[in-house]
């Protein structure tokens, strides 16, 4: 049964901190990474085609060669030799919730996944440690040809599409962690939306790390064909352990002509997870890509969702919310690369730091020569709640074209005493008043979320705020 093994270390305000002691794994747990581990993943368990196996081995060589990023957050707490790179909880991905192993089902029942699916999702996927345990999509969407499954199954059933796009948006040698992911990836979602099909309600994936020192390396690939539309939402949780856990995903998105993709993340890892994720979208003409990226959990997050605008009139948007409480460092941001004329981008970042937390906005806007009439606006607002908190803004801009309009603005403030005074004179406690100001601060982001997520988001902010004021 699921037990709270470390009650003493589970903070009250993290309700996903339990751990399934009776989780069963098919493979033997082995720490550290070498070619044998990759062979085990690719050949023994997944029985992958040769090209993918070779991709993995090649990526592993890139991984060994590349250095860890020496900028950004402190990553010295990760011991790559202590990590379990592959943990296989169940034999296959189920389409019927009742067939999911009991201990996994309990976990996701607790997280409210099946309930959520019935209520307002077009499809849902759930990943437990390394493997996807459940993927389902509504029949009507399936009939229209929408594919939503875990990436491993997609590699078996739609090998041609996977092979065509895998690693084209984020090559294995892009950075050390992308190379690591390519070498040991497992699970993740594969979404393919046929031309002209609009998926009106969101698809959701849920990621859960259960084992101590487990690394989760899911690989997500979304291809939106011409004129199609899709909204994908992901959420993440993990138990609270005393040792560090690594989550290093790669998300590749291809937005074809006139298509529209929105990708929403509510990242709520426990405060011992290093969350180092590479996310990038390539947008063709008249396409629209929107990243909505909320980072509330984890010990360290380094994540900069990117949009490469390669077709005329393509549009990219990143809405980023980061909340760093004690001992957290949220190094989040965005990257907009304008590689076609008349492209536009908008980055809005809202960060909140509390206690000894640190938020950093790190972003790049790059405009190549000749990309006339491109426009980019970057807006960063930071709210610092305590004397010991820290907020940084590192906005890089490389503009090599004259006929453009680029703007960046940032402000940093604390919660105004006048605001607090006004709210408290209306009968709120200081904590309630502060929480209200914080909720108001992130309102522009929350209102872009589907209703249920907006409620969840506000609830998470409230949890993060607990204890903010004595």
């Amino acid at each position: 049964m699921a037990t709270d093994v470390r009650k003493d270390t589970v903070p009250d305000n993290y309700k996903y901190g339990w751990f399934d002691a009776d989780a069963k794994y098919e493979n033997t747990k082995k720490r550290g990474l070498d070619e044998a581990v990759i062979t085990e993943i690719s050949q023994t368990y997944k029985k992958e085609p040769q090209w993918m196996y070779e991709r993995r081995l090649k990526a592993f060589r890139h991984y060994l060669k590349r250095a860890m990023p020496d900028w950004g957050a402190d990553l010295s707490g990760i011991d790559f030799d202590e990590i379990y790179y592959y943990l296989r909880p169940s034999g296959k991905t189920e389409k019927n919730w009742n067939d999911v192993p009991d201990y996994v089902k309990r976990t996701f029942d607790k997280l409210g996944i099946p309930e959520a699916e019935q209520k307002y999702l077009a499809g849902v996927g759930a990943q437990y440690d390394s493997e996807s345990v459940y993927h389902n999509i509504r029949k009507d969407l399936e009939a229209k040809g929408v594919i939503f499954m875990d990436t491993d199954t997609a590699l078996k059933e739609h090998e041609d599409i996977v092979k065509q796009y895998f690693g084209t948006v984020i090559p294995a040698n892009d950075n050390k962690l992308a190379a690591l992911n390519t070498a040991v990836w497992s699970g993740g979602s594969f979404v393919w939306v046929p031309p002209g099909v609009k998926v009106e309600i969101p698809l959701q994936a849920y990621f859960r790390i259960n084992s101590e020192s487990a690394g989760q390396f899911e690989r997500t690939l979304i291809v939106a064909e011409e004129g199609s539309q899709v909204h994908y939402v992901e959420g993440c949780t993990a138990p609270v352990f005393s040792t560090a856990t690594l989550h290093s995903a790669v998300v590749e998105i291809v937005v074809k002509k006139g298509a529209r993709v929105r990708y929403t993340t509510i990242q709520n890892w426990s405060h011992n997870v290093y969350n180092l994720v590479t996310k990038r979208a390539v947008v063709q003409e008249d396409g629209v890509m929107e990243w909505i990226d909320a980072n509330l959990g984890s010990k360290v997050t380094m994540k900069y969702p990117s949009v490469y605008l390669v077709g005329e009139r393509a549009h990219g948007e990143v809405l980023s919310v980061a909340f760093a409480a004690d001992d957290q460092h949220q190094d989040a941001g965005a990257k907009m690369v304008h590689a076609a004329p008349n492209t536009t981008s908008l980055i809005t970042s809202k960060s909140i730091s509390k206690g000894t937390g640190r938020t950093s906005y790190r972003g790049l806007v790059k405009i190549y020569p000749g990309m006339k009439k491109s426009k980019s606006t970057v807006r960063c607002d930071a709210l610092i709640l305590d004397k010991s908190a820290r907020s940084d803004t590192y906005p890089y801009m490389e503009i090599d074209e004259e006929d453009v309009s680029i703007g960046h603005e940032a402000t940093v403030s604390k919660v105004g005493e006048e605001q607090l005074f006004y709210l408290m004179s209306r009968g709120l406690t200081e904590a309630e008043a502060t929480a209200m100001v914080v909720n108001g601060f992130i309102e522009p982001i929350v209102k872009t979320l589907p209703m249920d997520y907006a409620i969840e988001m506000n609830r998470l902010i409230t949890l993060q705020m607990q204890g903010a004021i004595g």
């Binding site: 006339k372 930071a382 610092i384 908190a389 907020s391 906005p395 603005e409 940032a410 403030s413 604390k414």
Partner: protein
């Protein structure tokens, strides 16, 4: 035997060069010693590798080779002239060549010679200037309570040559003193050449200091300059850098606010054309109570010119109620021009009155161009007028009309008679 290899220096500088430089100028022993201490720092300080955030966009590998030994026997010392005789000393004011000041006022000069810290990755160049500073070095000292009404001006002009131009300018304003220094740097074109100017400003408690640096070196010069200011409580400091000349300019401008209630303003005007690269790093450190530090850099970029502005505001955890803003605006006047504005904030406390930054890049507003041209101006005149208008926020922050005129005259090669008219 183990020997710790000294850090490889960008330009070799021998102890013999320092000895010869000191003895040929008949420098006092303490000054010679200070140079040797700086030489030691220079040899131990690794030069930037190009991986530092500040240096990533600057082609260090193409810096002209400079033979520092040629400084000793320089055939072409710069002409130096100023609005007042350079050896002004009245009411305790010292405004002189560094060497004269060191001989005549050793007690005062000695205090300020060791130099200050600045941007970390610029350390090697700071040490180089402190070790090998030669002709063109200036010392300005304003004793406590003295108000220097008229701006002090010094124009340093190097004739053609290949010797590196390495010089220091030290400005000290004691408590409640006030002074404006205008420093104009220029050279005759010739061969690729290195300039390493170093500026230090000390604003004492309640002092008011204004510095205007006009950089118009010939366009074969690589200028790698350092500026550092230290602000004591209640002081007011404004520094202006107007950059028109040079092939490549790298300027490290750092400001340190140490006391309560100090005010710092760092201004910059860049008007670059052809293939010029003007790369400015600013660093604004804030500590103390209720101090402010703002920077405003405006760049107009013609042809294939490029402006880089990587600037950091750092608000220390021990500070309270500080205000700071960093603003960087770029007008691109050609489709080959480029700008990399990178304003960084590092805020280690919530007790800030205000903090923020803004950066923009883009062409002149076509509507404004149209409007001005309907008034009968040619395209060129209209463009010059709008660039002049774009620069206005910095130009108008200079209160003295004669200094404003000097800045506009320096900008003439870019904004033409628009500047002339106003300067007249």
């Amino acid at each position: 035997m183990t020997v710790t290899a000294p850090a490889t220096t960008l330009f070799p500088l021998a102890r013999e060069t320092i000895d010869a430089l000191s003895s040929s100028r008949e420098e006092p022993a303490w000054l010679h010693d200070a140079r040797l201490a700086a030489l030691d720092r220079y040899q131990r300080t690794a030069p930037p590798t190009g991986h530092e955030e500040e240096w990533r966009r600057f082609p260090l590998k193409d810096v002209p080779r400079a033979d520092l030994a040629t400084i000793v026997e320089t055939k072409h010392p710069p002409s130096e002239f100023g609005s007042v005789p350079l050896s002004a000393s009245r009411h305790g004011l010292i405004f002189d060549r560094m060497l004269n000041a060191a001989r005549e006022h050793p007690d005062i000069v000695r205090r300020w010679i060791p130099g200050e810290e600045g941007i970390g990755s610029h350390g090697a160049f700071r040490a180089l200037a402190a070790a090998a500073f030669a002709h063109g070095s200036t010392f300005l000292y304003v004793p406590a309570g003295l108000h220097v009404e008229l701006p002090l001006e010094v124009h340093k002009r190097w004739s053609a040559g290949t010797e590196p131009m390495v010089f220091r300018t030290i400005v000290v304003a004691e408590a409640n003193a006030s002074v404006t220094l205008v420093e104009e740097l220029s050279s005759e074109p010739g061969a690729p050449r290195l300039a390493v100017p170093s500026l230090e400003i000390h604003a004492g408690p309640g002092a008011r200091v204004r510095y205007v640096g006009i950089h118009r070196f010939a366009e074969d010069v690589w200028e790698i300059g350092q500026q550092h200011s230290v602000s004591a409580r209640d002081s007011v400091l404004a520094s202006f850098n107007v950059v028109i000349g040079s092939a490549r300019t790298k300027l490290g401008v750092s400001s340190e606010v140490r006391g309560d209630g100090a005010e710092v303003k760092l201004y910059g005007l860049v008007a670059a054309h052809d293939r010029q690269l003007i790369d400015v790093n600013t660093f604004q450190r804030l500590d103390g109570k209720a101090s402010t530090s703002d920077s405003l850099y405006l760049s107009a970029l013609y042809d294939s010119a490029k402006a880089v502005n990587y600037g950091v505001i750092r608000v220390e955890p021990t500070s309270s109620g500080t205000g700071s803003y960093q603003e960087c605006r770029n007008v691109l006047l050609s489709d080959k021009a480029g700008a990399d504005p990178i304003p960084v904030l590092e805020i280690l406390t919530n007790d800030v009155a205000r903090c923020g930054h803004g950066a923009t890049a883009g062409a002149l507003d076509p509507d404004e161009m149209f409007y001005v041209m309907t008034r009968g101006l040619s395209r060129l005149d209209a463009e010059q007028l709008l660039v002049r208008g774009f620069f206005h926020r910095v130009v108008s922050a200079i209160p003295e009309p004669q200094v404003r005129a000097k800045v506009l005259a320096a900008l003439e090669p870019r904004i033409g008679r628009i500047a002339e008219l106003e300067a007249a």
